[in-house]
Structure formats: C-alpha cells, structure tokens
C-alpha cells in the first residue's frame, strides 16, 4: 500500500514537470483553451486585433503612395504652368519677331503635352487622376496635339479603421479641366497669330492665374488630408504596440518564473524519490534471524 501511494505521488510530480516543460518550450501559458478559458477567448480577440491593425497599416502605405504621387504630379503641373506664365509675359512683349513668337508657342505646346502626360500619371499600374476608373487614361493623347478629355471625379477611398475610409485621390476636374487646356491652346494660338477666342494676353494671364490658384487650393486640401493620414499612422503604430503587448501579457509566460518553478519542482522530485526509497525498502524480515 505504501508502495502504491508512493508511486502515485511520484507520478503526480512528473505531471507537474510535464506541464512546466510544455509551458517553457511553447512559450505560452495555455496549451489548450480549457487551461484558462477566459485567457483563451481573450487571446482569440487580441489576435484578431493585432492582425487588423497590421492590415490597416498596410492600407496606409497604399494611401501614402497615392497621396505622395498626387502631390508630385500637382507640383510638376504647377512648375509647368509657372513656366508658361513666364513665357507668356516674355511673349506678349511686342518687340518679339513672329519667329520668336512661334518658338515660344512651340515651347508652350510642348508644355501643354507635358501637363497632359502628368494628368495621365500611372503609379503601380493605376491612373491616379481618374477617380475610380484606374485603368483608363483620362486624357487620350493618340491624336496629339489634339486631346480628348475623359475625367471621372469620384473618390477613391481606402479603409484605415473600422468604418473609417480616407480619400486617396484628388478631384482631377478641379485642375485638368477643359478650362486649363483651353487656356493653353488659346495662348499657343495667339502666339502663333491664330484665333484665340478674342482674348487678350492679359485675359489669358488672368485665366492662368486662376488655374494656378486652383492647383494651390487642391494642394492645400491634399496637404490637410496628408496630415490626417500621418496622424492615423502614428495612432495605428501605437495601437500595434499596445495590441501586441496585451496579447503577450495574456498568453506568454514569464521565463524567469517558469525556470525557477522548474528548479524547485526538480528538487522536490528528488526529495520524493529519495524518501520513497528509504520508506519502502526495509521490512521486519531484514531484522529477524
């Protein structure tokens, strides 16, 4: 009877060893949900949380691509239009000869095509200035210098959080509209000595200024959105850290504690084994003649 109860105690000690070893090798407090049901269900929730935050961060990088490229596009359009403005001021000087005017007109023609090409900016296979119609170029340039405009202005939105979406594109019809290309064509025509809808150089300069202001406004709006994006980014980074921290504190073991427990259990085990040996061995028979 002593032998059996001894054996039972020793095997219970092995059980405890087994649990500690399992925890040490897996690094997790729980091996199966029944070890701690509350931690298990919370663990499932936190895991999903961590995955979600990670995914939203990936979406953010997509947003960055859009916005930064839109910004670059607008910037270059701005530079092109500024150059046009300089050329107009230079060209409306009555002292130029017609061939000089024609040279200026040619340069303006090129700048117009450059702006059109900017409107057709393609990033990672997507046209960023055509609303949600991302596989259609907004400006048909096959019959250059004649341009066919086909812009869509709907919002291209990307989710960054539960139910929260941020618009990634700008409204291209604010910038690359008939008005802009009309103005550029008129300037070109006027310099070439052709009909320009009866507008004077000053009228055309005013129109140019309006277009430049439109670009400026759009850039401001984009800038504001970009700031918001950065705020969301920093919030998500913080969330990611917190989510991982909670997940870890819920499930992961405390290495030092487990190792100390193991050492303690080991010495208890050795003591049990040695005591057991001393108790069950001697019987009366050893002492009788």
């Amino acid at each position: 009877m002593l032998a059996t109860s001894n054996l039972n105690s020793i095997s219970k000690s092995y059980d405890r060893f087994g649990t500690l070893q399992e925890q040490l090798t897996s690094g997790k407090k729980i091996d199966r949900p029944s070890d701690d049901p509350v931690a298990a269900t919370k663990g499932m929730f936190y895991r999903s949380n961590v995955e979600e935050v990670g995914q939203y961060k990936r979406n953010l990088s997509e947003l960055y691509v859009w916005m930064e490229n839109s910004e670059t596009g607008l910037d270059q359009t701005n530079s092109a239009l500024q150059r046009v403005r300089e050329l107009v001021i230079h060209g409306k000087n009555g002292t130029n000869s017609p061939s000089d005017q024609k040279a200026v007109a040619a340069e303006i023609g090129q700048l117009k095509e450059a702006v059109a090409a900017l409107a057709n900016t393609k990033v990672a296979g997507k046209y960023i200035f055509n609303g949600t119609y991302i596989d259609q170029p907004p400006i048909g340039m096959t019959e250059a210098p004649k341009l066919t405009l086909d812009f869509h202005s709907d919002s291209y939105e990307i989710p960054v959080s539960d139910g929260v979406k941020i618009k990634a594109n700008i409204d291209p019809t604010n910038i690359f509209n008939e008005g802009l290309f009309g103005t550029l064509e008129n300037i070109e025509n006027k310099l070439n000595g052709e009909d320009s809808e009866g507008k004077s150089f000053d009228d055309l300069l005013n129109e140019l200024d309006q277009h430049l202001e439109a670009i400026s406004n759009e850039r401001a709006e984009l800038g504001a959105r970009y700031n918001r994006l950065e705020m969301v980014d920093s919030r998500l980074s913080h969330q990611e850290i917190v989510a991982n921290k909670i997940l870890s504190s819920n499930e992961d073991i405390d290495f030092e504690k487990i190792i100390v427990d193991l050492k303690t259990q080991e010495s208890v085990h050795r003591a049990a084994l040695s005591m057991g040996a001393r108790i069950i061995q001697p019987t009366l028979m050893d002492f009788l003649r």
């Binding site: 701690d36 499932m44 990936r58 979406n59 949600t132 291209y156 539960d162």
Partner: protein
C-alpha cells in the same frame, strides 16, 4: 472421568490448528502482490469443553477445555469501503472519459492558434482589404479566391473531423456495451461457482475476491447497485451469498447465475458509458451545429451582398427546401382546436415563403371517432398550403371527445410518401388532441417504439402538437429529436419554423464550397463571381460591403440574439473551454477521492509483511509448544503403561 488420551488429543488439536494458521500466513505472504487479494485470517475457536452438563455427568472438577480448532478462514474486507470505492470509481469513469473527449475536441478546434478557423477567417478578411486597396490587381483577386477556398476548406475539415470522431464514439459505445455484457457474464459465472461451494459451509475467499474485482471494473463503466442473496443449504453465517447487480434505480443486470445482456443501457446514469453517450449525442453534435450556423450565415450573407450588386454568389449554398407533412386528427373532438391549428399552419407557410424556403406540404388525416380499423387518408403532396388547409375543415360525425385514434397507422402511412432527402429536410407534424392506439391495447398493429425506429430509419423528425398532459405521445417527439408543443398555443408555428430553419443548415459546414465558375480561370472573365467586378474598376463599394459582413451583427443560432462573427465564434470556443476545464477539474477530483478510498481499503485488506512475519513467529512458537506438549503426554502415557504395576520387576 476424562479419557486417557484426553491431553494428547488437546495437544494434537493445538498442533493442527497452529499448522493451519501457519498455512494461512503462508498463503498471505505468497499473495502479497496479487491485485485484488484480501488478506485472510484463521478464526481459532475453542472446542466444546468436557463434560457437557447433564444428569449422568462425571463428577470431575470443572469443565475441561478440549483444545482449539480453526473455525473458519475469513478474508478481511470492509464492504462499506467497497461501496464507497465503487461510487467514486463510477464518477471517475464518467468524468475521465468526458475529459478525454473534450480534450480531443479542443485539439481539433485548435484555438487560439495560427492555424485555427479564427486565423483563416482573419486572413480572408485581410485579403479582401488588400483587394479593396487594389481592386484591379490580378494578384489580389487570386489571393481573395484562394483565401475564400481556405475558409470553406477549414469549415469542411473541422466538420469532417468532428463527424469522424462521432462515429468512432459509436464504435466505442458498442464496444463498451459488449464489455459490460462480458463482465456481467463473468460475474454470473463466479456467482454460480460460489453457489456450488457455499452450501457446504465453506467460504470461497478467492472467488469472493474475483467477484469483487469484476464488480469494481463494472462500476467504472456504469452505475450499479449490489445486493447479496443467501445461497441456502448449510451456508456459513459469514458467507456472502449470491450477488444481485442492478443498474442504479433500474433493471437487473446479474441475478444468481444469469446475466441479462440485452439491456437498454441508454437509461444509465453516470459512468464511462454515459460519458460516451453524452459526448456522442450532445458535445460533438453541438459543436457541429455551431459550425453549421457560422458557415451557413457567413455564406448566405456574402451571397446576399453579391446578389445585391448583381454578381453571381461567392459561396455555393444549396437552395433551402423543406418537406413538411402534417398528420392531423380529423375528428369532431378537434373542433375547437382546429381554428388555432389552421391559423398556425398558415403563418408557418407564410414564414417559410418569406425566407425563400421552397416548401412541399403533405397531409394525412386520420380519425374514426373511437372505432378502430379505419385507414388514414393520404393526400397528394402540394406546394400550396391552402390545399392543405381546405381539406382540414372536413369534420367527421359527432362523438365523445378525446377517444384514442389510429395515429400510428397515419404516421406509417405518411412514411409511405417516400420523401427524398435531396428534395429538402423532412419534418412530420402530428396534430391531435387525443392519445393514439398502440399495439399493447390491441387496437393497432404498431407500437410506439416500432414507429420511432421507422422514423429514425428514414431520417425523419416528428413534432407532436397535442394537449400538454398527453404523456403517451412525448417519446415520439423526444426520441426523434422533434418538439412537443401545446395545441392551444398561438405560436407553435414559431417553434416549427425555427426547427425547419435549423435543419436546413444542418451539415452545411461539411459541404461548404466556393461557388462556380472556378476562380482559377481568367479573373477578368465576365462570368467570374469575383467580388471586385464592378462598373468603374476602382469602385470598391461591393468589396467594402463584403467586409462589413464580418462586422455585421446577425442571429447566428436563431436564438434571437445578434452578434458578429468573431464574438459568436469566441463564445462557442469559450463555452467549450469552460466545459472542458470543468470536466478536467472534476476528473482530477474524482481521481483523488477514489485514490483516498483505495488507500483506506488497502489499509484494511492488503498484506503487511511485517504483520505476517510477527504472526509467523507467534504460530511457530505455539506449534513448537503444542509439539512439546505431545512429548509430555507421551512421557505420561509411557509412565502409565510401562511404569505402573511393575512392583518387584
């Protein structure tokens, strides 16, 4: 005057008894390690003293003791501890088996982990998010279809594994039943052998030990009561008798030398068998039903979003169909209940149509107003509830209320519709206010259990709508998994409707699949059901709507409470975890208790070599002393015979 050899005989008796005691000690030592062995001891009693009182007694001083004899050889065993042990063993059998099965369940579900269902769904969600950011990317679309397939495959794999364990349990249940039968037969055999020995006045200790060992083994399988009956004949007062083993509060399993092996063991409470039955009937089916709920709801909601956008369905969900047969008591006694019944049936049909469930109805009417032998009236199947309702209004002749009717014949007639499972789930509804004729009262050729077996064979659920005190009909509902509802209730159509809905989605998780055409074809294919197909290829509204399904709140288990996918799944896993933890804890506790009783039992009955050694010395010395006594008697006799009357020799 006592006899010459009186002292010799006394000493001889001493020697023999001590020798017997030594043999018993030797037996104990030899069996020190035999499992189930109870140590034996000799009861030494004095033999009858001389002389017996009477008229003709010799006038000698006092009554002389005449020595010792071994009265009986008894085993040391506390039967109360046996009862306690069997009780604890029984509980241990139940909890341990239940615990093992829960552990298997947890291993299959594998949560929380990187490879469980929750993670697969998360990855699917991520792929949809990526698609929302890149709607026209071929890569993103391919990933969505792959991850969707992974979700369907995971559901299917889980349901499949659970089903296969469930059928393993069936095998285990039948093996356990054979085990119980076999042990019962062995006990009956031992009973017989004991019955052969005891009437001679002997105590067959080894047979008792064997019988107790068998009963211990049996106790872990089922909950039993043990009683003992006299063997008769010249049995000793310490004889234990024949064991009569009965299931707790129930039928007898072993009586004397007969074992009743054809028991309905499904009525047992506690024990390993009960745990297996519980796991097979409740634990695993519940988890499978939960998976069905999850899979079906996700699939139908996804498909709804797709169809709202004019796209083909994402998941392959079979059309919901139901075949409902009403078996109605059509006698005059039903007069006051008929209106309520028709209202309910009409509402039921309305609900089914409203949910898009294609339903076929059947009607079998029965009732002879108390005259047996009439046959039920089977109507053709129809999809229009009004056909059924119009036929219900024909009422037979006036008669007394609540006489029994040939309902069982009507049910068997309904089975003859030979409904095919591929045409929808099969639900029968028995509507009557009276009891039915059964085989026992000789008014019917069927018994209730025959009808239940026939229904089970065809996979049909029978609901019973009747008066609440009609206990006869309850087993028909309970044992076919149907509901027993009150005929006067205004809302029994709700219960029927819920039952039909739950049945329709049964087994869906196992067959869950992505819809055709196959995603592996060109994703820009016009007929593809990829969720990003939309006018305006950057338009992500449809994808965002699909993402909302994950967060949307639906009534997953038709209980009236809504929750979103993750919460529902977490609650399912949480419940499983809590139940598993409980059975683990109780299993540990039962084990400890059983061990404690076992130790106390061993304290009483097991062989202590120290004690046997001491006894050995004791008996050995007594034997030597008795032998010395014989020598003394011998010398005395020698003196008498050879030394007296030799004067002058």
């Amino acid at each position: 005057m006592s006899s010459t050899f009186f002292g010799l005989e006394t000493a001889r008796r001493g020697m023999v008894s001590q020798q017997g005691a030594l043999y018993v000690t030797g037996q104990n030592i030899a069996n020190a390690n035999t499992p189930g062995y109870s140590r034996q001891r000799v009861n030494l009693v004095q033999t009858t003293p001389f002389p017996a009182p009477g008229w003709n007694r010799p006038e000698i001083p006092g009554q002389l003791g005449t020595g010792v004899e071994a009265g009986s050889i008894q085993r040391i065993r506390d039967s109360f501890l046996d009862v306690q042990y069997r009780g604890e063993n029984n509980k241990l059998g139940y909890w341990k088996t239940l615990d093992e099965n829960y552990k298997k369940l947890e291993e299959i579900m594998n949560e929380p982990s990187e490879t469980g269902l929750a993670n697969t769904i998360d990855k699917f969600w991520q792929s949809l998010q990526d698609l929302a950011a890149n709607p026209k990317s071929d890569g993103a679309r391919a990933v969505v279809s792959q991850r969707g397939m992974a979700v369907a495959e995971t559901f299917s794999y889980l349901a499949n594994s659970l089903n296969s364990i469930k059928s393993d349990l069936e095998t285990e249940i039948s093996v356990t039943k054979s085990q119980i039968d076999s042990i019962a037969e062995q006990i009956a055999n031992v009973n017989k052998q004991i019955g052969d020995v005891e009437p001679h006045g002997y105590l067959p200790n080894d047979l008792y030990d064997e019988r107790d060992r068998l009963i211990d083994e049996l106790s872990s399988l089922i909950n039993i009561n043990v009683e003992y009956e006299d063997s008769g004949g010249n049995a000793s007062k310490m004889a234990e008798g024949q064991a009569v083993i009965s299931l707790a509060g129930g039928p007898v399993l072993v009586s004397g030398d007969t074992a009743f092996t054809d028991m309905d063991l499904n009525q047992v409470s506690i024990g390993k068998l009960q745990a297996l039955i519980h796991a097979h009937d409740d634990v695993y089916p519940q988890m499978i039903a939960d998976l069905d709920n999850l899979a079906y709801t996700i699939a139908t909601q996804f498909n709804k979003v797709q169809s709202d956008a004019g796209l083909p369905p994402f998941f392959d969900v079979p059309e919901p169909k139901a075949q409902v047969v009403f078996i109605v008591d059509n006698t005059s006694s039903m007069g006051d209940e008929l209106e309520n019944v028709t209202d309910n049936l009409e509402e039921l049909a309305g609900k089914l149509t409203g949910d898009g469930i294609e339903s076929t109805f059947g009607l079998v009417t029965f009732g002879q107003d108390g005259e047996p032998g009439g046959s039920p009236n089977k109507n053709p199947l129809t999809t229009d509830i009004n056909d059924i309702l119009s036929k219900l209004n024909t009422v037979l002749k006036e008669d007394e209320k609540n006489l029994a009717e040939p309902g069982l014949e009507a049910i068997m007639e309904a089975i003859n519709y030979n409904l095919d499972s591929s045409d929808g789930v099969k639900e029968f509804v028995l509507i009557t206010d009276a009891p039915v004729y059964v085989e026992d009262d000789e008014q019917s050729e069927y018994s209730i259990s025959e009808v239940i077996d026939a229904l089970a064979e065809h996979g049909i659920k029978l609901h019973v709508i009747s008066k609440s005190d009609n206990g006869q009909l309850r087993p028909l509902a309970n044992q076919t998994d149907g509901k027993f509802l009150n005929i006067d209730s205004e809302t029994f159509d709700d219960d029927l409707y819920n039952s039909i809905k739950l049945d329709i989605r049964k087994g869906y998780a196992d067959q869950m699949e992505i819809g055709q055409p196959d995603f592996e074809s060109d994703p820009s294919d016009e007929t593809s059901n990829n969720p990003s197909d939309e006018l305006g290829d950057g338009n992500t509204t449809n994808i965002l709507n699909l993402l909302d399904v994950f967060d949307g709140k639906f009534d997953y288990d038709l209980s009236g409470d809504v929750s979103d996918f993750r919460s529902y799944y977490q609650s399912v896993i949480g419940k499983m975890a809590v139940d598993s933890q409980q059975s683990g804890r109780l299993s540990g506790n039962s084990d400890m208790l059983r061990q404690a009783v076992e130790e106390r039992r061993m304290e009483v009955s097991s062989v202590s070599l120290d004690e046997e050694m001491t006894n050995l010395i004791q008996f050995q010395h007594a034997y030597t002393a008795a032998a010395r006594m014989i020598t003394v008697q011998d010398q005395l006799l020698d003196k008498i015979i050879n030394g007296m009357g030799t004067v002058g020799r």
